[in-house]
Amino acid sequence: MYAVGIDIGSITTKAAVIDDNGILGTRIISTGYNASEAGQRVFDELLRECSLKPSDIGAIISTGYGRNSVTFADKSLTEIICHGAGAHYLNPSVRAVVDVGGQDSKALLIDDKGKTKDFAMNDKCAAGTGRFLEVMARALEVDLDAFGALSLQSDTPCRISSICTVFAESEVISLISRGERREDIIAGIHESVAARVAALAHRVGVHPPLMMTGGVARNIGVVTALEKKLGMPVEVSSYAQVNGAIGAAVLALKN
């Protein structure tokens, strides 16, 4: 049997299809304005890519903030539950997960079955998330994909003290006009994101083995800064961004 997980996030929509032997394919598209349409499109594209028909799929679970707009899903579960299940599927020894997505960041503890035991979620603002990094990339006129590698070239990161995204953006602009190196500014931005995420992680008491998931985990600069802030290794899978969709598919398969 094939099972599909669809994760509709604030910026991207992800889908994964699995069977008893493993992951068959994954797909990422922009969510855009219409979450319901994005869910349908990512499903169609994923199936086409894997040469599967809708009738081949035995179970579908939707997740993410747009989870309830996937009308063809059998069930919806929150992304916290799915990230826990996904991380456990990718590495069964993992006991703590930090998921940083477009507008939310979450830290969770999972048991030896991948079930969520405790969690914390950013509730005050979206500082320390993907959207924060996007705004900074725009201010610096640097492609966000280049952020990670650039920041690793810095040995004197700038300090970004504002938590508010808009204030932090104007701080970055001041740093640019002061002539600070772009690498140092980006490294400072990553430290600021890592500080927010680490504070959240401490609220649930994360411990190794820890996995970081979500789109921001693709940024090696944030991962490195987070390792330093937490004082523990942070594992990142090549499936980090689609981890929520994988978790949803795993739970659909179990169902």
Binding site: Y65, T78, E79, K117, F119, M121, D123
Partner: protein, 386 residues
């Protein structure tokens, strides 16, 4: 809508509609009551001895803060004050509470205590009183002291109203409030037994309405409401299958919170809120001198507010017992941001309850609920974990 029944006024209304209307527009209700010639005294928390106000011929009305933007109050209060203090001050400074004859400020937390000074200096109501409770409750001197402060509060009321307050007046009021408390507790018990008999948001409007509606009419209203609930008029089938939860905190003036929980497959079967069971928990003994009897209810209550001290583990024990009694598997702490007495207790209570296999989560709010999407994600995850 629910089927309608005839009321004493000849209009067609469910009893519950009276509670809902008052809960939606407390200021409108207060204004009408005042226009009918009854003085109205605002009360800041569940430690306001409402029996004395009622016995003095006035109407005690709980103040809830505002859902409107805070424009005037920020100039008087620090940013670390809770939204309740800010909302109450905002309401008075903008004239929304102009129907009040005054207010009473029980000293539970420091913010309310300081708000009392700011209120006194910036308003010109006829009546004002502080009721400065002891912090530690479990001593004889705490009881003696509480009786003394009630004597003083009684004198405040007497000199304002120009009438002396007899023991018979007090006893009559105690009986009315006891009936209100008993009946609210009975509705809670009915709902704990069958959570499908009434939705959580409607239950919250019953408690809130009870803090607003005319207390002379309230026992009858609650009696009729209980009958309506028993008849199944407000039944929400399906609630009986949901995960049973307890909500703990100070003030929860967000009926939508209970609806979101029920949509997320959870149902609140009891609470430890000052706009919930702490309002009606335990009655006042009859046959004891009235002021001492009222004082005993406050100092001897098993579930005190966190601003009061009973013992290091009293609140944990009470919550664990509540969870066991009502077969709840989780406790949601619903706290106002910057409410330090509650925030200070939270880490210990979380640990205490979790070691007793009761799951715990925290939702912090201001005068508005957090965005629904995020709140639902947190609540659904928590309920799924149970």
């Amino acid at each position: 809508m629910h089927p309608a029944t005839a009321t004493e006024k000849g209009t067609f209304m469910n009893e519950l509609d009276h509670f809902q209307e008052a809960a939606k527009n407390p200021e409108g209700y207060g204004k009408n009551l005042k226009a009918s010639g009854r003085p109205v005294i605002g009360c800041l928390c569940s430690y306001a001895p409402e029996e004395l106000i009622h016995a003095a011929g006035a109407h005690p009305m709980r103040l809830f803060g505002t859902k409107e933007a805070i424009v005037n109050a920020d100039g008087h209060l620090q940013t670390y004050c809770c939204s309740l203090a800010k909302g109450v001050l905002e309401n008075t400074l903008t004239g929304r509470l102009s129907f009040l004859d005054g207010a009473v400020f029980p000293h539970t937390c420091d913010t309310i205590q300081r708000l009392s000074d700011i209120w006194r200096l910036n308003t010109d109501y006829d009546f004002f009183a502080d009721v400065v409770y002891p912090v530690k409750l479990n001593t004889q001197s705490a009881l003696d002291y509480t009786v003394d402060i009630f004597e003083r509060f009684k004198k405040n009321l007497e000199s304002w109203s120009g009438q002396s307050l007899s023991e018979a007046d007090l006893t009559r009021s105690i009986e009315i409030f006891n009936s209100i408390r008993d009946q609210l507790a009975e509705i809670y018990r009915m709902r704990s037994k069958d959570p499908a008999c009434l939705s959580g948001s409607l239950l919250s409007s019953v408690v809130k309405g009870s803090m607003i509606l005319d207390r002379d009419e309230l026992p009858e209203r609650l009696f009729r409401l209980r009958k309506e609930i028993e008849e199944g008029r407000y039944a929400v089938p399906g609630n009986e299958r949901k995960k049973r939860l307890i909500v703990a905190g100070s003030l929860c003036d967000h009926p939508d919170f209970f609806s979101i929980l029920e949509e997320s497959d959870g149902v609140v079967v009891w609470d430890d809120l000052c706009t919930g069971s702490r309002y009606f928990d335990e009655t006042v003994d009859i046959g004891v001198p009235p002021l001492e009897a009222i004082a005993r209810r406050y100092v001897e209550r098993r579930r005190p507010c966190p601003a009061k001290h009973l013992s290091n583990t009293a609140r944990g024990e009470a919550l664990a017992a509540m969870a066991e009694e009502h077969k709840a598997s989780g406790v949601i702490f619903f706290l106002l941001k910057f409410c330090d007495p509650h925030a200070f207790d939270y880490p210990y209570l979380k640990e205490y309850l979790e070691t007793r296999n009761v799951s715990v989560t925290l939702v912090e709010v201001e005068n508005q609920l957090p965005p629904e999407g995020q709140l639902k994600t947190r609540l659904e995850t928590f309920i799924h974990m149970l």
